[in-house]
């Protein structure tokens, strides 16, 4: 057993590539659990951050600073009555949330959290992710149609139109990133790991490559991915003030929570694509400027440090808790939480752990940045109208994406091009 673990740890490929089914299964479990936990954390963070942007406090009662609120919500949702409307198409109604959740989770098969930290590495990784996440539309249409109600129907129609149109712009942005992998290193790849390695080899994140081309492609993707996941300001399919709750109006309890899970899962998934394609995936910041063993060491200490900071924040919270009996349990809970964070930080100081985990840390940190953006947008922007949304998609992002692809290709092959031109002129 120990031997198996050791053999795995020393290996340099993902379990999928190695054909190691045991480890692949473990990874899948880890990913599913991890994503679920991340969704819980996201739920709490979104509420807190949004609340503070709106000069509120957000959840404060369940657990210290509302830390247990998502858990309480999950319990509530699971114990709620499960309603299937009378006129609904039962089978489709039942299967829609399953489809949505499955597609959201399946995409994570190819997400590389680190060099070896992925379930598998496919040579068509990006396409796989795009394809699977597009399947989510199917679930949404199923949900809207089978509910046999007006609001879900309108919501799902909006959703499908929106996802389909933004997928094209998204595709162009991705193509330009993929093009970049084929330049200089010479071998283009669609593998997620391959793309990150290409960025490593070229010693630049693709967002900075051929400035502003990489940045433009990234911006297109960043806008399209918000639309793709139906989040504000593109949250028309579930526009609360217009369509009540859009395609999941008729859902309740566990089924509703599956939609919720899928939404956040999809957000994480598209953010992972963005991170992988443009922000260097698991690579630490500034690999080219701040290179050298000392900097490597410094950056590998960052995960532990950030955990210490979090622990410090929660200990500060402990100190600032009101000193009244009602809060004793909460204060103790927060203290425990802070200590736990500190302990994790300590573990991360251990060199063996440190080296293996820092990839994941950088990846998660970058994804977290995107998650913050999602919340920030939601707190700030009004909602687009349907036709305006389509206009942005088709008239702005699509031509821009097309242009970026063409210019990237031209710039990428400019040396050869010059050679050819010189040949012609001669």
């Amino acid at each position: 057993m120990l031997h198996a673990i050791k053999a795995y740890l020393s290996s340099n490929v993902t379990p999928g590539e190695a054909g190691d089914y045991l480890w692949a299964t473990i990874y899948i479990l880890l990913v599913v659990i991890g994503i679920s936990l991340a969704v819980l954390a996201m739920n709490w963070l979104e509420r807190k951050i949004l609340a503070h942007m709106q000069i509120r406090l957000g959840p404060m009662r369940v657990g210290p600073h509302g830390l247990l609120q998502p858990v309480a919500d999950a319990v509530k949702l699971l114990t709620k009555e499960d309603i299937i409307p009378d006129g609904a198409d039962k089978l489709v109604f039942w299967s829609a949330p399953v489809v949505v959740t499955m597609t959201a989770f399946t995409t994570f098969l190819v997400v590389p959290f680190g060099r070896t930290h992925a379930v598998t590495d496919m040579n068509i990784g990006v396409l796989f992710m795009l394809g699977i996440s597009s399947l989510g539309v199917l679930g949404i249409i199923m949900a809207g149609w089978s509910s046999n109600s007006h609001y879900p129907l309108l919501g799902s129609l909006r959703s499908s139109a929106q996802m389909v149109s933004y997928e094209i712009a998204m595709g162009f942005a991705i193509v330009s990133a993929v093009l970049m992998t084929s330049l200089q290193t010479g071998t283009g790849t669609l593998s997620m790991i391959g793309i990150v390695e290409a960025q490593n080899a070229q010693q630049t994140w693709f967002i900075f490559k051929y400035f502003p081309l990489g940045f433009l492609a990234f911006a297109i993707f960043a806008i399209a991915m918000v639309a793709e996941t139906n989040r504000a300001p593109f949250d028309l399919p579930e526009a609360e003030s217009e369509l009540v709750a859009g395609f999941h109006t008729e859902y309740s309890g566990f089924r509703w929570s599956l939609f919720f899970l899928a939404e956040y899962g999809a957000m994480l998934a598209v953010s992972s694509i963005a991170v992988t394609l443009w922000l260097g995936g698991w690579l630490r910041p500034f690999p080219n400027w701040l290179s050298g063993a000392l900097w490597d060491l410094a950056f590998s200490l960052v995960p532990a440090l950030s955990f210490f900071v979090l622990a410090g924040l929660s200990l500060l919270g402990v100190v600032r808790m009101p000193k009244i009996p009602q809060f004793r349990a909460q204060t103790a809970g927060l203290l425990m939480f802070g200590l736990l964070l500190g302990f994790i930080g300590l573990t991360l100081l251990v060199p063996a752990v440190r080296v293996r985990v820092q990839d994941i840390f950088w990846f998660v940190a970058k994804v977290a940045f995107f998650m913050y953006l999602y919340i920030w947008y939601r707190g700030t922007f009004p909602r687009y109208r349907f036709d305006q949304l389509m206009k942005v998609g088709w008239k702005v992002l699509l031509p821009l994406g097309l242009g970026v692809v063409i210019v990237t290709a031209v710039v990428g092959v400019r040396q050869e091009l010059w050679g050819v031109l010189a040949g012609v002129s001669r």
Binding site: A51, H52, Q54, R56, I324
Partner: protein, 153 residues
Amino acid sequence: MSLSPVLRKVFLVDLVKGLKVTFNYQKPSEAVTEQYPLERPVIYERYRGQPRLNVNPDTGESLCIVCNLCALACPEQLIVVKGERNPVTRRKEPVSWTYDLSRCMFCGLCAEACSTDALELTQDYEMALYSREGMVLDQAALEHGHEPVRYAK
């Protein structure tokens, strides 16, 4: 900033401005939430809340002289006062006093009408009850204020 409108549009100045506002408000000190049962709101002197029937603090006698003005002034006619003349002091004293809190809209007309400052709307605002029955206050409840309700199952 003296950017041309086109540039402003391209660089999303309008959106960034909004983002800046929301970002700056994230400071915990900006939050205005009151955590109610722990933090009590400030209630000002003229607040019209739970009605109270004042008693003379020295003698413990009700200040009410059963003039019935409050009952007449009440738009909802929810005050019923019955009294009889005390043979000893020659004062009219209330015998039964009811105040139906469930119909009260706290307009304050009764307290304004009261000629002896007996009826008063106080600063107490926690009046919710689990049943309608407890909402009809009698004289004792009006004089002492009702028991604070513990909102728990």
